[in-house]
């Protein structure tokens, strides 16, 4: 199997997994859903450490991943090279952002927002609330799959740590920092988080930083950096235009 084929097959496997998992859990209430995704993640991250699968997963030591030939016109060495790799990752991030932006503005996006507000009333208004949630779940998992695959190409190595809960919480913190109310927010958040993590990593305090960041942002800047900027912009235009309210 060529490297490109392997990537595509992996992507498809994740998509199918997401569809199955989503089919099972998309119906549940937000809290249950949160715990179930947590549980599912832990199942995967611990199952790679099973003795029986050692040959495939490398157990606790992880797997070195290399490939011959080219993927997207780049060699394995290119992917490991930060200068050559970052355009690929950056492009992928913005394409993902664009996809999310398109979905937000679409009818699916409006339905998802309304379901989040009041799922019961949506059913009482004739909507199937299960399908949109399932679709959204599969979509975001596919985006996550792409990022995971890029990570493997870049790092050349994968271990149970790559699957740990902290990866999810870091992503969550990054999204919060940028602001989840916009499509660009998580991208900006990812940037801020990475820079900050490097800074704190120098003092061996990455975990502490994560904890402090979560608390600080939720309490002080709940809409994130991008959200805060958008809010400020809205406020200033409102005071400039001076709309009259009935």
């Amino acid at each position: 199997m060529t490297a490109m084929q392997a990537l595509l097959v992996s992507f498809l496997i994740v998509a199918v997994y997401a569809a199955i998992l989503g089919a099972l859990i998309a119906r549940t209430n937000p809290l249950a859903f949160m715990m179930l995704t947590l549980a599912a993640g832990e199942v995967i991250s611990h199952s790679v450490m099973l003795e029986g699968l050692r040959d495939y997963t490398g157990g606790a030591d992880g797997l070195v991943v290399g490939f011959k030939g080219a993927v997207l016109g780049m060699q394995a060495a290119d992917f490991a090279n930060a200068a050559r790799f970052w355009p690929v990752a950056w492009t992928a991030a913005w394409i993902a952002g664009l996809i999310i932006w398109t979905v937000r503005r679409s009818r699916l996006g409006a339905i998802l927002r309304a379901v989040r507000e009041n799922e019961e009333r949506m059913r009482f208004s004739g909507f199937n609330t299960y399908a949109p949630r399932l679709i959204a779940f599969v979509l975001i998992n596919m985006i996550a799959a792409v990022s995971g695959l890029l990570h493997v190409l870049n790092a050349g190595f994968v271990s149970p740590d790559s699957l740990s809960l902290s990866v999810s919480t870091n992503a969550l913190v990054a999204a919060l920092m940028g602001g989840v109310a916009s499509s660009a927010g998580p991208i900006v958040g990812g940037l801020i988080f990475s820079f900050a993590q490097d800074e704190f990593g120098a003092h061996d305090a990455t975990q502490l930083f994560t904890g402090v960041a979560v608390v600080a942002f939720i309490i002080l800047i709940p809409r994130g950096v991008v959200g805060g900027i958008l809010d400020a912009a809205r406020q200033s235009t409102r005071s400039l235009v001076g709309r009259k309210r009935p």
Binding site: R107, A110, I111, A114, R121, R123, S125
Partner: protein
């Protein structure tokens, strides 16, 4: 239009509704349901609209047995419900939420609903920020979209003053007549019900007590004894 046959709903050991037979006719009828607390009025609506599975009995809607149908199916086929505890979309503007449902149900005459429920001045406001009385109107408006054939209203007057409730019921009566639909309104404010409803059903402890015109019910001795007597 609507017919329940021996409809029963129990929550564990508690029998909320016992073998209720109810019939609502079609065109232009506003049918009130009254009864003391715990009479099973809300449960009746829950069972009819599909929110709760009845433990026994059937619900027939326009001749069809719909007891097993989903809530969304019922709504798409013209059975709409409004809520006692206002259930709207706080973060969306009034217009956004009305339009979302209108698009889904294929209703092109959203302006009608906006006009009937007098919401024109509030369209761009986020629903979470408007006055409670207006929020209730939005709740009812959401149920009116898509030209439903049967409206189920759970205490539409809840939280409103007696005057506002009466006005709401008058509005409902006009609406029901004009559109030739049927509406069932569960309500605590008996004055509004007697003033505007064509027919009234009285429930007591989950059982059917009496059904008739407001005048008949007022005069019915059993009703007076069980309910009106204590409220008078």
């Amino acid at each position: 239009m609507l017919k329940t046959e021996k409809l029963s709903v129990s929550y564990g050991p508690l029998q909320a509704l016992s073998e209720l037979d109810l019939e609502i006719d079609g065109d232009g009828v506003l049918h009130g349901v009254i009864g003391p607390n715990g009479a099973g009025k809300s449960t009746l609506l829950d069972a009819v609209c599909g929110r709760r599975r009845p433990t026994a009995g059937t619900v027939r809607y326009r001749g069809q047995d719909i007891t097993r149908r989903s809530v969304a199916w019922r709504r798409r086929h013209g059975m709409a419900r409004s809520f006692q505890r206002t259930s709207i979309f706080q973060d969306l503007t009034v217009y956004e939420q009305l339009r979302l449902v209108a698009q889904h149900l294929g209703d092109r005459r959203l302006d009608d609903v906006i006009q009937v429920m007098d919401l024109a001045d509030y369209l761009d406001e986020k629903a979470g920020r408007i006055a409670y009385g207006v929020q209730r109107r939005v709740d009812v408006a959401l149920a009116l979209i898509g030209r439903p054939h049967l409206l189920l209203m759970d205490e539409p007057g809840a939280g409103l003053s007696a005057v506002e409730t009466l006005r709401l019921f008058q509005h409902l009566r006009d609406l029901v007549r004009e559109r030739k639909i049927a509406a069932v309104a569960v309500e605590h404010d008996v004055d509004a019900v007697f003033a505007c409803c064509d027919k009234v059903t009285v429930l007591d402890l989950g059982r059917h007590l009496a059904t008739g015109t407001p005048a008949e019910i007022r005069a019915d001795r059993r009703v007076v004894a069980a309910y009106l007597g204590s409220a008078a």
